[in-house]
């Protein structure tokens, strides 16, 4: 059990870090695009044309990155789906904790188990429909406006991350079931890592 737990956690963490790398890549793309756009417009400005004409051509060589916002849209969709399993395994979802104090610990554990079950169902539904959606986009051959890359690429990466999210959600459910059944927390034995 502990080995599976480590594996699932490693997977969730690796996926979240991959999403983070994509997010950083989007930061870099967007920033470079802005730099390119600024240099280009300086190259076209009157000041350069009047006083520094020799700079105009090299500055005008710079360009914003074409379709950078399409990359942002596709990239951020993947990053968010990649972040979700980590949030799931880390118990990061927002909830209202008023009732917790009034219920006995066992009731709280069963309630938590119930919501984990609903989470599993939701993730399975989301992943299934995303895969169907990917197939649709593949069949219609839809492409993005500026870059003309097939829209199904973006859908496929998000679907893949959603499938991993299902696995993590199911594992999280199993962990909660163990706890509800009175077993010790699986990571209580090992040191808790944040």
């Amino acid at each position: 059990m502990a080995q599976i737990d480590r594996l699932v956690r490693f997977m969730a963490k690796a996926l979240a870090l991959l999403g983070g790398v994509i997010l950083l890549a989007l930061v870099a793309t967007t920033t470079l695009s802005i730099v390119g756009r600024s240099l280009n417009s300086i190259g076209h400005s009157e000041i350069v044309a009047t006083y520094l004409p020799f700079l105009a051509a090299p500055l005008q060589w710079f360009r914003p990155i074409t379709g950078d916002f399409e990359l942002v849209e596709a990239g951020v969709a993947f990053a968010i789906m990649a972040f979700l399993p980590w949030c799931q395994i880390e118990q990061g979802h927002a909830k209202v904790e008023v009732l917790t104090g009034f219920l006995p610990a066992t009731a709280n554990r069963w309630l938590a188990l119930l919501w984990e079950a609903v989470f599993c169902a939701a993730y399975l539904l989301i992943a299934w429909r995303l895969i169907v959606g990917t197939n649709d986009k593949l069949r219609y051959g839809e492409t993005s406006f500026m870059l003309q890359f097939p829209v199904w690429w973006g859908y496929a990466t998000v679907s893949a991350a959603a499938v991993l999210a299902c696995i993590v959600a199911i594992w999280s459910f199993i962990l909660h079931a163990r706890e509800a059944a009175g077993h010790r927390h699986i990571r209580a034995a090992t040191s808790r890592v944040n």
């Binding site: 870090l17 695009s33 942002v72 709280n108 973006g154």
Partner: protein, 440 residues
């Protein structure tokens, strides 16, 4: 049963699920999907919608500003800017009675100018300021309450993740909302400092006083925070001047704070990984709520609840001011239990149509911006209201010597200052709007 009844019934069901500790995003998702199935009489509409809705919600260009601002805040915490901010504020204010606490508020405000989240602001400034407050003999409750309240400046002072979400839901201009938030944010800083001064006067404490520091050193400490000013000017100035879109500004801010953290030596493999994972967790939490809210709100729209509810309330004939005050009070009550983004995503689609039909003597856009700032403030108060105030938990956990109850008690004057400021802003919309009117 007609769809309107189903729509109305869904609201208590949703609240019941949320209070039974169902994660808020999940509850909205389930009620939204379930409700749509009931209203459309089968799963087909829901299944067809689900094919695209998840991807289109996550791939929104305007919403991508959220993870970017969160990333920026994470890098800002690693850049050593919190220490510089605290030192700068401390050299100017530290010799006064309650000065170190006031300096903490000032430093929080400075950090809020480069960080769009309250929890990150509270946690980061807590690490720097809490030991200093203890060292200078401030009572534990005052120290933790000051930082919890100061942390709320993270979202009050632009950039602000909550304001971004509000802007997207209500289709308002983010730049104008940021400009409008500036003066109320400064009022919050002044209000908190007054609160500290009054608390220090009425409760005798062992807080020590120190000598004034010569202006030369003060200016030197102030010069140390140029990085913060640079990032703030670049991000907010860039949006305002139209150099870049808000999303681009957030990307530039993330890149800038990343470079600063790199040069400050704050980026090791561990801190970098932690920053990414922390961004990941918060982003995922927010977007799961956004996804749930998307399904829930399209279900509500299907049942026409927002329109019907607003016309029903208008027919009751209460004055616009009464309705506004009731709504703000509801936020204060909800804020005792719920986090700020969930509240915004859950309630703004219902309350905003009501507010936009009322006549406050302002243009529709001004009303929307004014209401946005008011909601921002009352929602932010929720972060420091007992029993469930996230900032209180975060700061109290950093100081094991202070009891939760002491923090609860000491934060009450800060809440009073927040409520006083809200009243002021409700009574005089001009305070919020004049800067925006002047600049645009």
């Amino acid at each position: 049963m007609d769809s309107l009844t189903i729509g109305y019934l869904s609201l208590p069901v949703l609240l019941a699920l949320i209070f039974m500790r169902m994660p808020i995003g999940l509850a909205m998702l389930v009620v939204g999907l379930g409700g749509t199935m009931v209203v459309t009489g089968g799963p087909n509409v829901v299944l067809a919608k689900l094919k695209n809705e998840t991807y289109s919600t996550f791939s929104s260009y305007s919403l991508s500003i959220v993870p970017l601002f969160l990333l920026m805040g994470q890098f800002a915490t690693l850049g050593g800017m919190s220490t510089a901010l605290f030192r700068a504020a401390e050299t100017w204010l530290g010799h006064r009675r309650g000065g170190v606490a006031m300096a903490s508020v000032g430093a929080c405000a400075g950090f809020g100018a480069i960080c769009g989240s309250s929890l990150a602001t509270a946690a980061t400034m807590g690490q720097v300021a809490l030991p200093q407050l203890k060292k200078h003999g401030y009572p534990g409750g005052l120290a933790t309450a000051t930082l919890a309240a100061g942390g709320t400046l993270g979202i009050l002072i632009p950039p602000s993740v909550v304001l971004v979400i509000y802007a997207i839901i209500t289709e308002q201009n983010i730049a104008k909302l940021f400009v409008a938030a500036a003066v109320p944010g400064l009022l919050a800083v002044i209000g908190y400092m007054f609160t500290i001064a009054i608390m220090m006067r009425f409760s005798p404490s062992s807080a020590q006083l120190r000598q004034r520091i010569p202006y030369r050193e003060r200016l030197k400490a102030l010069a140390e925070i140029w990085r913060v000013l640079l990032i703030f000017a670049l991000v907010i100035g860039g949006i305002y001047l139209g150099w870049f879109t808000p999303t681009e500004a957030a990307a530039v801010g993330a890149a800038g704070t990343c470079i600063i953290a790199w040069f400050a030596g704050g980026l090791s493999r561990t801190t970098f990984t932690d920053a990414i994972l922390s961004t990941a967790s918060t982003t995922a939490m927010i977007f799961f709520i956004i996804l749930g809210a998307a399904f829930f709100n399209s279900f509500l729209a299907l049942t026409r609840v927002p329109q019907e509810l607003s016309s029903t309330i208008l027919e009751l004939g209460f004055s616009p001011l009464t309705i506004l005050i009731v709504i703000l009070c509801l936020y204060l009550i909800f804020g005792c239990f719920m986090d700020s983004l969930s509240m915004i995503l859950l309630t703004v689609p219902i309350f905003f149509p009501i507010i936009s039909m009322l006549d406050f003597g302002l243009t529709p856009e001004e009303t929307a911006i004014w209401f946005g700032i008011l909601v921002l403030i009352v929602v932010e108060v929720g972060l420091i209201t007992p029993p469930v105030g996230m900032n209180l938990f975060v700061i109290n956990a950093m100081d094991p010597a202070t009891r939760m109850l002491d923090t609860y008690r000491a934060v009450l004057p800060f809440i009073a200052s927040d409520i006083l400021r809200t009243c002021l802003l409700v009574a005089f919309p001009g305070i919020t709007l004049f800067l925006m009117r002047w600049l645009y």
